[in-house]
Symmetry: C2
Subunit: 461 residues, 2 copies
Amino acid sequence: MVARTRIRSALAGEGGGGEVTVKGWVRTSRVGKEVAFLALNDGSSLANLQVVAEPALPNYAEICTVGTGAAVAVRGRLVDSPAAGQRYELRAAAVELLGPADESYPLQKKRHTFEYLRTIAHLRPRSNTFGAVFRVRSSLAQAVHRFFAERGFLYVNTPIITTNDCEGAGELFRVTTLDLARPKFAGGGVDFSGDFFGEAAGLAVSGQLEGELFAQAFSDIYTFGPTFRAENSNTPRHAAEFWMIEPEMAFADLRDDAALAEEFLRYLCRHVLDHCQEDLAFFNEHIDPGLVARIEGVAGSSFAMMEYGEAIERLRQASVAFEYPVEWGLDLQTEHERYLTEQVVGGPVFVVNYPQQIKAFYMRQNDDGKTVAAMDLLVPKVGEIIGGSQREERYDLLVARMEETGIDPASLWWYLDTRRWGSTPHAGFGLGFERLIMYLTGMENIRDVIPFPRTPRHAEF
Amino acid sequence: MVARTRIRSALAGEGGGGEVTVKGWVRTSRVGKEVAFLALNDGSSLANLQVVAEPALPNYAEICTVGTGAAVAVRGRLVDSPAAGQRYELRAAAVELLGPADESYPLQKKRHTFEYLRTIAHLRPRSNTFGAVFRVRSSLAQAVHRFFAERGFLYVNTPIITTNDCEGAGELFRVTTLDLARPKFAGGGVDFSGDFFGEAAGLAVSGQLEGELFAQAFSDIYTFGPTFRAENSNTPRHAAEFWMIEPEMAFADLRDDAALAEEFLRYLCRHVLDHCQEDLAFFNEHIDPGLVARIEGVAGSSFAMMEYGEAIERLRQASVAFEYPVEWGLDLQTEHERYLTEQVVGGPVFVVNYPQQIKAFYMRQNDDGKTVAAMDLLVPKVGEIIGGSQREERYDLLVARMEETGIDPASLWWYLDTRRWGSTPHAGFGLGFERLIMYLTGMENIRDVIPFPRTPRHAEF
């Protein structure tokens, strides 16, 4: 086919002077007195390229009927545009209609609610908002990989299907090839010996444990892949399928972990400010007026650190009526997190060293005997965005903790093995990719930052 | 913690002269007459750093007992090494034992079979071969993302959980939160209305259909994520969970598709030659003696193209007894593919325009009425490595083809919608990431290029 110029490039004047061919979808069309205008978009940028077609074109009558949503190819010359808000427009020498669209096209030029657009998730990427969302998502994914590659971290694909359910069987999706209509039983339960994997399997809720195994060979690793929660909660922040980023470092403690998390989040903020300017300006104008200033704030600040015990004290002294009463041992809720980062610190803050009983079995026990080396990074407007910890590297303490929390050490023999031979102090954290995108775009519903969201009773497309 | 120098950097002489601290795992230890040697590896390179510890060190007696697999931190000075095969060694000023390892450590210095190492997949990354495999895997993943980013392709995360089973229900893993012990029935089958998604759901076998939706908004996109096949086949080339790369281009035909595939594969070959030299040399020496020459061959050649019809003629003329008899309509088997690329062409070749009846419903019908615009890229030693096609963009033809192949058009209403409004000629292909890694490392079993492979009756770790 004829090589095409991307609209992003054409808008920047690339190929100006000579002829270019652009291809894209018509966002709006308008027939003036002596000329027809088509606003063309190919997804490479938020802005459309204005195409000007004159009656001398052999198919001018057809061009005048081209509707919103149609796909066209236009050959022509980029010329200075007299219109405001655009430097160039394309004077058409030929317009070819590739795929028409009639008035039944659902994305006619008018405002649609996000709720409605979710029902046409196959078409919403052709709207301004979702074009911007998914460009930012893609650009951020590239930045995540680049950040870790530049720092010598190994990328590891941890398994999606797992037989390890220690992190919460209640939230696990079952994966099976059994005939659900004819269950077989053994030993008082369903007999999984005839299932594909010969035992009960499910979808992973995290890649951390396997990530730790790789950190004990490559020192610095990260995962970036889909994770799953069968949590029956319909909130703007929960999806059954989402992507997680989980770095893990051998020879590292909680301070190293916090330093990495801070560098990472600031890098990503800097990235969207530098590389997603057009889309960010759109979000700042139409979605979340404080967005750019908030991101600049995070990119430019150094993060505070506060002991959990101090956080509890500050919350107790607050003249705010929290829904959840504050006392030592409380698992901080979003209301508390936001108070700490917004009112107490006025910026990002790591809360560290949480009570052992509210944290996972693998977190490293502190010398006080009651807290563990956990950290949560809290940021204004959302609360927790990153959660991490130093891991318990001492075999005996880890086994004791598993037994206390009802996890059979034999079921995680391979995890324990890394503490038997060549154990190292190590630490890592997790960042939900969609939470990050929400934070950096101002979009308020996780369903609107995932191409095809999976939530209770919804797995369309 | 003390900042550490990676062993890859230390071996390159970084910090030479001054003191450095390295941390890693002992691969071998040896006590000489007046000095102890530790070969240290931290996963950053294949090569170990030789640490030389002298009796003057306060814990010299302990150092002499440090076994294979132990984790240590060593502070010292890089000096020229008198030993062959290494430029520098580390003269230790202090050796700290972080995590000991006794003789029960399974990876003692001796040759282990790959079969045995699969049973300790949590430890095998600490071996030479698997260290090299997973470094190459990580580096290639980075190269995949960079290739597409440099060309303006949008990265899209297509859904893992899907209710779309048109690509082969027989190979689908079921995903459910139903109580398998107590199925409910409705309308003659299991009642999925009470399941998490309100209908039967499974794990995606491809992201192509959703990728096409995004290509109809962003023009050039790619997916790179896990896909699943519940295929009960125990072969060295099949896994139940693997990663796929699937680019899709709007405004593109089969020639454009082949051009992208060629550029992509040559880029990845060039990448490992330039960026994974040490590991590649290892594979070339120990795993697959022709490897580097073969990769250089692909990187430097331009790929041939052959019609399916001509391929069949060439195979019929061959003086080779194929297991599967050759006639027009045959779905080429590996024996045929290898004959074509190795004997007929002597290099990579695209076979294009296959009979419609052996290809998927979405491939574009050619004007001859009997073939579709499909392509398979065949390479020496493995046969097919990339499969792709131009997609049927004509609504009526696509619906007719779905009906012929027993797919209910109503179940894919959203896919058909892209042909109703603004349809474009478009094309894409799929590359199995593990197949690529096998091709570029010479490893012959897919179980040995995935961190924790999932195959029938195996989902350990």
